[in-house]
Structures are given as C-alpha cells and as structure tokens.
C-alpha cells in the first residue's frame, strides 16, 4: 500500500515540555486512521503538526510523497474539521464554504460548482444563505466538513468532530462520515476519546500515550490482542479484568490466588512463553456464566456483588474471594445481589502481560 502520510522522527516541545517524542507513523492511501488516547496525550498536537498549524521541533512530515514539513497549512492538501466547528460567524454558509476557494484564487463559476456539489453530498443546500448562528450543531458540523470537502483535499483531519453533539446526532453523523469516506476514499485522520467511534470508523487505530504511539493496528487486533496492559485497559468498557500471578511450567499454567489455570490454547506473542510474574486479563464479555461456564476450561466460583442492567446486556460485578470481576451477561438473565454464580472462561480469549514491562506475552 502506497502511503499517503509519512511521519518520521517527529518531535514537538512547548518550551521544556516534550509533547511528542520521536514519533513515526505511516498512513496508507485512503486509510481511515483513528488516534485514540486519554486527554493530554498529544493527539491534537499531532494533528496540528500534520496540518502545519504547529512548527515541529524535529522530524519530517510527508503528504502524498511530498515533504511538507515547512509548508503552510493551505499548501499541504489537507482539510480540517474542529470540535467547536470553527465556522466564521459573520459569513453565511456559502461564504464559509467559499472562503478557502477565494483565497486559493478559484474562478466564480468553479467556486459555485464546487459548493453546489459539496452541498448536495452533505445535504445542506437549503442552508446556504444562513449564518452559522442559525444552524443546529449537527448542521454546523456538516458545514465544517463541507469546508474541507470543497477544497478537494487529499487528507481530512478531524479533531473530535462529534464531541459537542448529543448522542443520537453523534451516531447519525458518525455513520455519515463513514459513508463519506467510503465514497471519497480520502485519507482521514480522526481524533477521538470515544472508543465506539474509534472501533466503528477506523481501518486502523493508533493508541497514544504521553506523546508516543503504543499500538497501531486494526480495531479487532487492538481489542483481541492489545500490545500492553495500558491498551488493554483503555479499550473496552467496563475494562478488562486482571488476575495477578505467575506463569509456570514453561507457559503451561498461570497461578494466582484464585487458583491455578491451565494456559492451554493461549497464543503467546513473538517472544514466546516466559515464566515469571504476570497479569492475566480477561474481558467481561468473555466470561461465561451458569451452565455455559461448565463448558469452559477455566472455572471459578463467585458471588454476585452488584448488578447493573443495561437493557441489552447486564453488567454484573462478582467477587472471587476479595477479588472483583466485571462480567457481561445476557440482558434477560435473572441474577440478584448475593447469588452464587459459576463463571468460566477460555484462556484462548485471555491476554497475559508481563508484570514489569506490562507488554503482552
């Protein structure tokens, strides 16, 4: 796959604060990449560097094979959509869409044609004469997307575009952005806090922490085989349950205070099996209960501490000794506080992390 954006050894500091540290990233042509990470990890900063809104401290940025490290934002072939929409309040929607085109010196007829096309795609034709103040949040964000669309850019950059919208609108616009990507096949980089957005939109997700990319992989891979304990905890809600214990018998078993589990079926990573202290993690949705639990290689006895019915599923917090575990069960099952519950899981669905390095084994 030819790469659309290449970032080499990128560093960025604000004074003495290093925000991005030796960051490397290759984004494929037409790929939808989601940057996911906790607040303050440098997602927006990275996006601003790619856009050319921040001068990098060191490193290079290539877009469509061109070194754009020193180029102005408008010359990089990128369009950007912001969380606060950032529409020019005194201009009409039409004015907002044409602003960039006028700056680039397009002819009147060309501008009209492009606005027309973008307005059709985004279904904002009736709004063209209105000012942003007279639009709803969803409409404003459509216009903001339109502003990138009319400029016919190679790369779309989104910085938490849906965070200011209510849940329903968010779901709708998320689907629309996905639709738009299918249609245009532009490269898109999308910053979000929202795991669901990340999982549903991304071709690949980059999990960031403290200015570094911890893992860059498909949503499925990140969910199933998180590279580190941090990633494992970050993805999934409620987050993964952990047992702390020891791997023994050349990776054949895991001993912890809840018992000794056979690791038969667990796929160790490239480093292979290593004995030693470790965390064993299992997601709430990979724990079976009741009769189903009886079929699992690892079985435990637990008592129900707390039940949270969500409708489609029910979250149950169980106790094994004094260890708490979250379990996701079917929404129709009847459990009550204090019930005894058999639980079980398959080590093939688990993830084991080294105790000291916290990387997946």
């Amino acid at each position: 796959m030819e790469s659309s954006i290449t970032i080499r050894d990128l560093e960025l500091s604000f004074g003495a604060v290093e925000v991005l540290k030796n960051l490397n990233l290759d984004i494929g042509q037409g790929e939808f990449l989601v940057l996911l990470g906790s607040s303050g990890c440098g997602k927006s900063t990275l996006l601003n560097c790619i856009a050319g809104l921040l001068d990098v401290t060191d490193g290079q940025i290539f877009i469509q094979g061109r070194n754009v490290t020193w180029e102005e934002p408008s010359d990089r072939g990128i369009g950007m959509v912001f969380q606060s929409y950032a529409l020019y309040p005194q201009m009409t929607v039409e004015g907002n869409l044409s602003f960039g085109l006028k700056n680039a010196g397009f002819s009147k007829s060309e501008i009209a044609e492009r606005i027309d096309r973008a307005a059709k795609v985004l279904q904002i034709e009736p709004l063209l004469k209105r000012k942003p103040g007279a639009l709803s949040g969803g409409q404003r964000q459509r216009v903001a997307i339109g502003r990138a669309l009319v400029r016919d850019v190679d790369v779309f950059l989104f910085d938490e575009p849906l965070s200011n919208l209510d849940a329903k609108l968010r779901t709708d616009l998320r689907a629309e952005i996905k639709e738009l990507h299918k249609r245009l096949r532009n490269t898109m980089i999308y910053v979000t806090h929202d795991q669901i957005e990340a999982m549903t939109l991304a071709d690949r997700i980059a999990i960031m922490r403290d200015g570094k990319i911890l893992q860059l992989a498909s949503p499925k891979e990140i969910y199933n085989r998180p590279a580190s304990k941090y990633v494992a905890e970050f993805i999934g809600s409620p987050s993964m349950n952990f047992f702390d214990g020891k791997i023994g018998e050349n990776g054949q078993s895991f001993a912890c205070d809840a018992g000794t589990f056979s690791l038969n079926g667990y796929q160790f990573g490239e480093g292979g099996a290593q004995d030693g202290t470790a965390w064993l993690g299992i997601r709430p949705e990979h724990i079976a209960v009741g009769t189903e639990a009886k079929t699992m290689p690892i079985q435990l006895e637990a008592s129900v501490q707390h039940v949270e019915p969500l409708g489609s599923d029910t979250l149950v917090r169980v106790l094994i000794g004094d260890r708490r575990l979250w379990v996701r069960i079917d929404g129709q099952s009847e459990v009550a506080d204090g019930d005894a519950l058999n639980i079980g899981f398959d080590p093939a669905m688990a993830n084991i992390f080294d105790k000291t390095s916290e990387t997946r084994l």
């Binding site: 601003n48 856009a51 050319g52 809104l53 102005e72 934002p73 408008s74 990128i78 369009g79 950007m80 912001f82 969380q83 606060s84 950032a86 529409l87 020019y88 309040p89 005194q90 602003f99 960039g100 700056n103 680039a104 000012k131 942003p132 103040g133 903001a144 502003r147 400029r151 501490q305 707390h306 506080d337 204090g338």
Partner: protein, 310 residues
Amino acid sequence: MVDDRTIPAASQTVNDFDGGPRGPKPQRAFSRKNVFLYGTLLMVTIYYAIPLYVMIVTSLKGLPEIRLGNIFAPPVEITFEPWVKAWAEACTGLNCNGLSGYFWNSVKITIPSVILSIIIASVNGYALANWRFKGANLFFAILIFGAFIPYQVMLYPIVIMLRELGLYGDLSGLVIVHTIFGMPILTLLFRNYFASLPEELFKAARVDGAGFWGIYFRVLLPMSLPIFTVAVILQVTGIWNDFLFGVVYTGPESYPMTVALNNIVNTTQGVTEYNVNMAATIITALVPLTIYFVSGKLFVRGIAAGAVKG
C-alpha cells in the same frame, strides 16, 4: 453492597395538591433590598446630576441674575448670549476669538490620534494573541511595563525628541505622543479580546489559506465591533480631555480646547463671567458626551451581536 434504597410509598407523595404555593413567587415592591438598591442608585444619580444642572442653569442666565446668588434657581430670562460668547468672543490670554479655533485644533488632534492608535494597537494585539512570534512575550512585557511609567518622567525627554524631529509645537507631534501613550493599554485591550476568540477559528482560517492580513480583515475584524467601540470611547475621551500633553507639546496657536478652556476660566481681568465659563465648559465636554451617548448604544448592540453563539 446491598441495594438499600427505599421506594417512597405512594400515599406520601399524593398529599396536598391544593393550598400549597403555586406559580411564580410573589415579589414585594418595597422589600428592604429594593429600597436599599433604588435608594443608593437615586443618591448617586443626584450626586452626579446636580453639578450638571447647576452648570446648564448658570450658562443660560445673565450676569445680573447670577449675582442674586441662588445657583439652583432656574433662569428667569433664558439667554444664549454666554454660549455665543464662549464660542466666538471669549478671551483666551492674548486673543479674543472664543473656543471655536481651539475646538478645531482638538478635532485635528483627536481624530488622527484615535484612528492611528487604534489601527496600530489592534494589529499589535492581533499579532501578540494569534501569531506567537519569537520574542512576543518580551515585547508584551515591555509594553505593559510602559503602561506603569508615570507620564511626568517622560515629558521632557519627549520634548527633546520632538524638537529634534522638528515637530515640537506642532499638532502632528502631539498626535504622535497620543498614539504612543495609548499603545500599552490599547494593545492589552485588543490582545485580550483576540485571545478570547476561539483559537480554532484562527486555525481554520489558516487551513483555508488566509494570511496575516486576510485573517485580520476578513475573519477577526468583523467579529470585533464591541472592542473597537470600547477603544474608540477610551481614546476619544482620553485624548479630547487631555490637558498636560496639550499644554506641553503644542504652542499657543495649536492649543487643544482644554487648554483654551483653562485660559478662559482663569482670565483674571474684569469680572468673572460665570455664565460664559459654564457654557465654555459644557461646549468642551460636548464631544465626549456625544460619544458616550452614540457609541453607548452601539456598544450594547455590539455586545449583543457578539453574544450570538457561533
């Protein structure tokens, strides 16, 4: 943890639908809070309005009527004689042409000073807020420091500088002085305003290919009516009312109106013409007053327009 929330019994909640308070809470017109609030407001208003009343009333009386001594009494016979005299005939030291010539001096000083200082300060503020150039913080610190240096310290050095430039005693010299002295506070004003506008707007404009001036004129300026109004009020009143710089940096021919007013009021020859003095003072104050009335309305409208979320 066992769920121990208890569900309230229905009978407890369905008690009295009648009798209890309902609808808006009644307001008492003469509550203690209201009496205190409006009482204070009234007193402050009277405190400020009485001198103005006395001035207007006195300026419309003839001298014999003034000698009766009751400064609060309305004029028995209204005369505009003092106003005409103040404008066209009153003596300001050497000549006796009234305030008219000096009025135009003040206009010629105020208009260019206001325009120049606001243009420069707004661009300064914009550059400081949005284009964090190298040394911006130092520049800003120096500028703010400048705001705290007492004028007196700089009076004489500036005299020498203007003399060297050949502008001493000239209106344009005074314009430059006003522009420079307005700079710290105005730059601070504009910088803070531009910094309060959403940064993403500025970023979006850069992505859209607008340059330094493009962003300033086409994106920020149209959103900045309120702050420009504030700056105009500040500068017009400040410069129009200035006495010190006017008396130091201009000559008798180019004195601003405030200096001329002082000369009229302080003339020691003959009887003191209180009515002319009052009229001259009101005429001099008329410009800032008008600015307050006109732009005050604009100001409120500007604020309201800026408050539209967007």
